[in-house]
Symmetry: C2
Subunit: 417 residues, 2 copies
């Protein structure tokens, strides 16, 4: 997940951009006192009719009611959308037929207020599981938000939207890139996210919304989104649980015209990776991040498996919190990943320092090793023996996690419903 | 893992017994100041020449040096052993060729001191990873322990052995059963264990030694051991990490003569299950145990997968610590187990109280629900919909875990090498 912030190619150049929606997108927020009064807990994003849409939804069997509705709409519309409505404070998950009816009612209200087709509206919720949405408070706010959309600036700031979908996040998560094309046109990619870490036990969701003003067909947008998610959201872990409401949406307004797909995919990936890093670093009780990079595996899948096993190990994650140069746990976690390699071939580096090789610890400067384990970011590199440079690089992968802290446990345990 | 302590059948009756080794076994301990002086850190178990032996070793690719030696010996001896030597304070793992030589040297010293074949001696270690054994301190103690064996009582107490292999365990773990056979003979099964939970980061091992005085062929003993381990050690989790030194040994001295295999297997299973529960309840920072029973799955494997996913979920385990009636996390964990079932079919009971059915929460007495989550043991039952009683029972499984506590994290993070 380490990508330069400015990448150039024959097709153009990607640079950081201010935190605004791309052209063609207008957003508004509203307060419906869903969980507590006085804060914005509804967020509406509107785009030109016929905009391309793609989405990745949770694979949890207990997908929330709004996920069912959105899944159907994106299929029926063949990848097009006019609006997305999100709420925080209630997940509308495990709510049975009434929950499904409420999700549908939210969508209908947006469709009426904005004057667009019902299946052109997507919806998701985040918050407490097993509680019904307060539709009596939500319904009157939606027309006001539609008025807000009519009055909103095109390509306005991301922040109000990013704030309205926060649950236990301590800060809004936003990222944006500008693609400068050879013909002097510019294309924008921007995104917002809310965290996967759950301070409060029932707020179990990662949601991200990515948008571009490039013209992209739904199928291409779907490819671009999957590529970006695979390099970002699928490479992070805060608590390993997949929620009932996890989702990533991507929209393309088309206003800025065509853009090279590879370049656009790179910009999406950069935005998604930056948001994913923000999610990890805003995880519950966050103190220190941990990146595990594995190279020289027999396959790329093997590399990911080892990286994920090490990055998710409770023993490794507690050692990282303690700043403990306890490489034995890292080696042992790699050894139980279910991936075949010769143990004698494994080389371990932490913060660039060679620590373990040929089945034995290496002589290393112990204060330097201690320092490598004590930074705000711990970089673990594991080589599994493929010495051919090209193969070692191809069959590699990386996973991002964080130290497991007493604060994480306290925050997750001390909640009383 | 709930088995009556007295089971009777046509073949005999199983009852609880005092914590002694079965006949034919003699044990002695020694202090070699491996990690710290003044405590017993070596344990030797001797049995008649030709005793049957079976073992299950860690599947971690970084199996420790003594595991390599024991694996070879049990193969070369075709399942026979005369002695087992264990040490605490140093795992002799990730120690390269020198570590392998040291494990061999321990075995040789026992073989010479007891006058038995080298491959009839098994060995394992537990403690810090990546540190060499202090052979200069261990070597002189072994002959003294052999003298101890010569002077020891046959079928002496389990406790000194159980104490000598402790690392971060707060208490020794012992269990014993007597089988009363119809012909008035008695057969004994006894066992000791040390914990899987790791307070100190490098002491990463579960070791158990099970013994019987029944006459059993090595192949039958291997079957009996695998059956017992499958119902016990393979159904618990403290931190999900498989260590470099995990092992379970089983020995049969044959002194008490033949015993019905089913009955013997049941006694082994009872002893192993009792030891496994002790391991969970002596896990680091233990406050509350959690049993997840899944019935009505499509297959037994599916039942285990769901039970293990729920019992291992960080969000579920922190909720259990908090005594939080947060059933949404349980349902969500079941839904991401990678097992196919109809979400609407899932029924959830906690402490016997029906909480979730038909995709919706059930009306339940909230103070009773709260009480079910606040006992010293939380019993979660998940039915996945197979209503045929016989199938529901067959396709079921159970997994035992415990609340994840701030103390667990503190203990695992606060260690400095």
């Amino acid at each position: 997940m380490t990508h330069a912030h400015a990448e150039s190619s024959a097709a153009g150049r990607i640079v950081a951009a201010t935190h605004h929606w791309p052209r063609g997108f207008r957003a508004s927020v509203g307060a419906a006192a869903i969980k507590k009064p006085g804060r914005d807990d509804l967020a509406l994003l509107a785009m030109p009719e016929g905009a391309s849409a793609a989405a990745i939804f949770t694979r949890n069997l207990f997908a929330a009611a709004p996920i069912e509705v959105s899944r159907r709409h994106i299929r029926d519309s063949r990848g097009h959308a006019s609006a997305l409505i999100l709420n925080s404070g209630c997940a509308n998950a495990a709510t049975g037929p009434r929950g499904l009816g409420n999700a549908q009612e939210m969508v209908d209200a947006v469709s009426i207020a904005l004057g667009c087709a019902c299946e052109a509206v997507l919806v998701n919720s985040t918050g407490v599981i097993g509680v019904q949405l307060p539709m009596d408070r939500i319904a009157p706010v939606i027309p006001k938000m539609a008025t807000g959309i009519a009055e909103a600036l095109d390509a306005g700031p991301l922040e109000p939207f990013a704030r309205a979908i926060m649950t236990t996040d301590t800060k809004p998560k936003m990222s944006a890139r500008r693609i400068e094309l050879p013909d002097n046109r510019t294309v924008h990619v921007a995104g917002v996210a809310k965290g996967a870490g759950m301070i409060r036990p029932d707020m179990a969701t990662m949601i991200s919304v990515l948008a571009t003003d490039a013209a992209v067909e739904p199928k291409a947008l779907d490819r671009i989104l999957r590529h970006a998610a695979d390099a970002s959201y699928h490479r992070i872990s805060v608590d390993g649980d997949t929620s009932t409401n996890d989702s990533v949406f991507a929209f393309a307004s088309g206003v800025a015209g065509a853009c090279d797909e590879i370049l656009l995919a790179r910009a999406f990936r950069e935005v998604a990776c930056e948001l994913a890093r923000m999610i990890v670093c805003d995880g519950e009780g966050f103190e220190r991040s941990l990146a595990v990079r594995v190279t020289g595996a027999a396959t790329k899948t093997d590399a990911l498996k080892v990286a994920e096993t090490v990055a998710s190990s409770l023993l490794v994650r507690t050692a990282i919190t303690g700043g403990d140069p306890n490489w034995g746990r890292i080696v042992a976690a790699a050894g139980r990943a279910g991936v075949a390699f010769r143990p004698g071939d494994l080389e371990l580096r932490v913060g660039g320092i060679l620590i373990f090789r040929d089945g034995e610890p290496c002589p290393a400067d112990s204060s330097a090793v201690r320092a490598a384990f004590n930074g705000s970011h711990v970089a673990v590199e594991i080589s599994l023996g493929a010495t051919d440079g090209a193969t070692a690089e191809t069959n590699s992968d990386e996973f991002l996690s964080c130290g497991l802290t007493t604060e994480y446990v306290r925050l997750n345990a001390d909640y009383t419903t």
